[in-house]
Symmetry: C2
Subunit: 330 residues, 2 copies
DNA sequence: AGGCACGATTGGAACGTTCAAGTTGCTGGA
DNA sequence: TCCAGCAACTTGAACGTTCCAATCGTGCCT
């Protein structure tokens, strides 16, 4: 059984004091070249690693960030956050932070978890996903001065806190332009009920681009909650119009997948474009707007570490551009 | 700004000593009823929470478990582990453990991360996924007496350590019986190259069930690496045989999805069954063998906490039964 | 030579908790 | 009456680290 290696073990081995070892680790520049080398050799030879718990007790910093993992839902849209999570863990590691997970049924209970994690584990920061109008979580955190970044804009006040987001409107605009370029004029929209930041944003991209092209979007949109059957139903409604749309654009891959069923049935098949480029889209050949999730996660870590390690100044927001991934469906 | 609430704050407030507060938390039975109540009221009133870092320094226990999150790959099979992860986090929380994530490129580097996490964060235990023959990770952990559970059998020696798994052979057997009951005799198999524990197990379910039904499986199997195009190619090969199979069973949804393309093209369409019941399968109507991932995760936590909290005795393994989810494809 | 600033290093103290070893005060048996 | 035994509670110490103030040379300026 190997003895526990502490900073004192290293100090003895390198014939210096505790504090000098600590300095080599935390402020190398104040230690003389030769001493530093000797200490570093001892560290390597003994396989020493700083005990985070002890460091944390002194400094109040845990080098831990937390994010919420959603309860398993649909499985299609859920995968978006999962891919984001992968990126978060990966980039966090390279920045010296570990990622901790938690679950919470609603915003209120999520806040309770924040409270717990901060008090029990001294968390350094949080990454929030899926923000919406009047999000209570961000105000709670901001009031207490807890560092955090959101993946998703603060829809009410863009300067409220630091955030990373993907330009949904630009994505749907690009998809709309693609369909316009293919000769389509009447392009239908299947989206979520008005009021959600993300949903309204994506819809705006479609709406404004059609307008700019001189097409009146009136009557070409349907609103529904997310889900494959709802997408199918709405597509059916749109395609049954007197002058039906010749192409469909959807707010999510779930809706698009349902729409695809209805669209393939009609003759000739109506092109469909989805949003999120989920594995399902790739599998069934659905053209979809792809969010750069890996980069989004990386930028979240960048911003968070900037707040944590750097001077106390909130870095500017980041708005990333999505890309259209073309497949058979459009 | 609220003052930091420590055990001493609570002690003063309840007019007892530090240690008594500690006892109320860790060994309530040795504290007099009335005192206990007073302390608990103080805890509630002040919103006290034990500082895990300090506790950990004393006890060497962190109430943290870690698991590896795979780099984003395919997206179809990746989702299986993601769903498992959700369950793990959720059940872990109810047992008082938080989940920490890490990534690692291969087994060797994964071991390096274990070493780091144990030394730096005093991790209580690990949950490993995707075990295979001669897995170096389990031997490393076992040698050091680190508590861990695997989701996946130790294929070489079933008593090597405690594990949770899903009976893959039973799943493919069930699928095979379902196809036999529908009148099929020549049932094709598309799986992975021999040598992987999981792959061989799933194949055995198909093979043995066919044999038991008096059908010779010879020539009805194809081996390939995972992926949609490979599934399609293998299905094409099988369906081009002189006496082709009338139904196809696959080792994964990825393979099945590819097979489905080839199978739908033939007349009449050949039924296809996949494995894992991924969101993609649900979306395209692919019949698939579903693993009880949530329960598997829960049992992993059960076993791990049994080792951690209970007496030092490794609890028996858990083998869960999958179910066949029937959809349009078969 | 004396003083001074500065670079390099050291030792004490503290973070918040639990363990181990006390100290009370009370009950009951010889 | 005395003390063993026990329940209930308290106090000192330790976990491994970093902060802070102090110490020790060493070279430079006057």
């Amino acid at each position: 059984m190997p003895e526990k290696v502490t900073i004192t073990t290293v100090a003895k081995h390198a014939r210096v004091s505790r504090q000098t070892v600590s300095n080599v680790l935390n402020a190398p520049h104040i230690v003389r070249e030769e001493t530093r080398r000797r200490v570093q050799e001892a560290i390597a030879a003994l396989g020493y690693r700083t005990n985070q718990a002890a460091r944390q007790m002194r400094t109040g910093r845990s080098r831990l960030i937390a994010t919420r993992i959603e309860p398993t839902r649909d499985g299609i849209n859920g995968s978006v956050l999962d891919r984001f999570l992968h990126g978060l863990t990966e980039t966090g590691e390279t920045a010296g932070y570990r990622t901790m997970l938690f679950t919470a049924a609603d915003a209120e209970r999520e806040i309770a978890v924040y409270d717990d994690l901060l008090a029990s584990y001294d968390l350094d920061g949080f990454v929030l996903t899926g923000t919406d109008h009047g999000d209570p979580r961000t105000t709670w955190l901001a009031e207490r001065g807890v560092p955090f970044v959101t993946f998703g804009r603060p829809w009410d006040d863009l300067d409220a806190h630091c955030w990373v987001d993907v330009d949904g409107a630009a994505g749907t605009a690009q998809a709309t332009r693609h369909l316009l370029a293919s000769g389509h004029r009447r392009i239908g929209w299947i989206g979520w009920p008005a009021g959600s930041g993300v949903g309204d944003d994506r819809r705006a991209g479609w709406h404004d681009t059609l307008r700019a092209a001189g097409v009146d979007p009136a009557g070409l949109a349907r609103e529904t909650v997310d889900g494959i059957p709802h997408g199918e139903r709405c597509a059916g409604e749109l395609l049954a119009l007197a002058t039906p749309p010749t192409a469909l654009l959807c707010a999510s891959d779930s809706l698009a997948l349902g729409a695809l069923k209805a669209a393939c049935a009609s003759e000739p098949p109506v092109p469909v474009i989805g949003f999120d480029d989920t594995p399902v889209a790739a599998a069934v050949g659905l053209t979809s707007v792809s969010q750069p999730l890996g980069e989004a996660a990386a930028r979240c870590v960048d911003l968070l570490t900037a707040v944590l390690d750097g001077p106390h100044r909130t870095p500017g927001p980041v708005l990333l551009q999505p890309t259209l991934v073309r497949r058979r469906s459009a």
